[in-house]
Subunit: 300 residues, 2 copies
């Protein structure tokens, strides 16, 4: 049996981490955008072998347990204890790992949904399993619940699926321009001194967004958050200012990756692309993904 | 400006009402199915008149305030107090009103989403407004949150949007056959003696479904619930037994309407249709709607 799941990439615009001893109550407040590109997971389940094997591959390359701890933990929990056979989990990412696109949560949620679809379970339990192992392994706090919500999401009550509450903004005719330049370790940022100002600025941004809940406002607040926390600085800030000149809504920093994202109208796209091409920088364009993650039997 | 929303019809399979003084905490436990047919709402907003007018029409016919109390209440709340102009809310229903397809919630939610889209707001606030007026006017307790969840849904914690928790079952290749035969007053059933056995049997059905969360199990539990509460009896029960002979999963009663619904495989559909045609009974077939409700600017 072959099952396929698609989970949108998720970019966080601003956030407030909410730590909790119970992983299902840990999460984050904040806002972000789900993209039409993201993570595809193919789970192949075959019986007929003499032992139980679980294999994980990222972009076609086999990965060891220690480099895919979250996915292996999800699989260990959702493949029934008495299952004898071969489980292969193939994850394909449209964006690079560690760049702030929620790949880790995408892989975890896609794996959880695929295995639950194959072996039995529900959406909520699958999502909770993915969230739990994300939190325990510090992959992220809010990506899973944000990906379940889709669209432009606002996490108004922190927590995992079934505990947190996610709202959605209405939007029209925007594309998402992303400029992915490198990695940033979520762990290091969350362990550093910047966490205090993230908490203060994140809360302010959320309060202000809820007073005027529009995508344009979200981008302005995201940019303020990125600059005031000092996370957006140096060359990346200079690049944001270059892009300001050709875009009507401010681009902001991908939380957390070394990169930028922007909500762009069709007519603005060409100028932004030209600017980035002139600077010899990588970029990508995606739609906002307003649907739910997909999972189903793969016949193709 | 013209805005269109689509809200799926929602059929409740079994339920436990959860009353609460705070309408956002009132709701229901239970399970049900969202359909690819349902309620289309078109909201037309025009300025340029000298007064504020709100009009509501069902299937093209203007309706008075007292016959569309829920929709008018939603509109009164979501059209800004200082708005001067014409708001027309056109609701079109694929199934008859009062037959248990969640039309009232569909109209309320579609109106709330359309007006929030036009005047500003968020998905969650729109949904809470719809739920609140559904509960206050006793239109229903669980339809709004179920329609937001889509697919085959299981309400595992009662409450309105942001309070209740809804899970989803995985499913494959089913169509939904419905036999809509007449109205049943939700108010009368909830006020009657049957409420005690609804609570007992509904809770049992939910517990059992969560132990084995599959659509086939849901239908068997729904049928048990319908028969044990005595809601399904007489001619309708006889018809269910007729259909049992041609379907692999038991049909059950639409909660609350005088009608039946069934999960049907393609290859079973022809026999079921023939049976109903022989009996000269109306029926309809829909897909399971696994997406979110839709709202957006209408151009065309």
């Amino acid at each position: 049996m072959l099952v396929r799941a698609f989970i949108p990439a998720h970019i966080t615009a601003f956030f407030v981490p909410a730590f909790h001893d119970d992983p299902l109550k840990a999460g984050s407040l904040g806002a972000g955008i789900n993209l039409s590109k993201g993570t595809n997971v193919f789970a192949s389940i075959e019986t007929g072998t003499l032992e139980r094997h679980i294999h994980v591959a990222f972009n076609g390359e086999s990965v060891k347990r220690e480099n895919a701890a979250i996915t292996y933990s999800v699989a260990d929990e959702l493949v029934p204890g008495d299952f004898i056979g071969e489980v292969e989990i193939w994850q394909y990412f449209d964006f690079p790992n560690g760049y702030g696109f929620g790949n880790s949560a995408g892989g975890a949620l896609g794996t959880a949904l695929s295995l639950s679809y194959a072996f039995g379970g529900t959406w909520l339990r699958a999502a909770q399993t993915a969230h739990k192992h994300e939190v325990i392994n510090r992959g992220g706090l809010g990506d899973v619940i944000a990906q379940l919500a889709g669209g432009i999401e606002v996490r108004v009550k922190a927590g995992g699926p079934g505990y947190g509450v996610v709202d959605n903004l209405f939007f029209e005719d925007y594309k998402v321009l992303v400029v992915p330049l490198g990695r940033l370790s979520t762990k290091e940022v969350l362990d550093g001194d910047v966490i205090k100002s993230i908490e203060i600025e994140g809360r302010k941004a959320l309060e202000n967004l809820l007073k005027e809940p529009r995508p344009e406002r979200m981008m302005a607040l995201a940019r303020g958050f990125a600059e005031k926390t000092g996370l957006l600085s140096g060359e990346l800030l200079e690049l944001a200012r270059e892009l300001d000149r050709v875009l009507s809504n401010p681009p902001s920093m991908i939380m957390l990756g070394r990169g930028l994202f922007a909500l762009v109208r069709d007519k603005e796209l060409e100028n932004a692309k030209n600017l980035l091409a002139d600077l010899n920088l990588p970029y990508d364009v995606a739609e906002i993904y307003a649907e739910r993650p997909k999972v189903g039997r793969w016949v193709g």
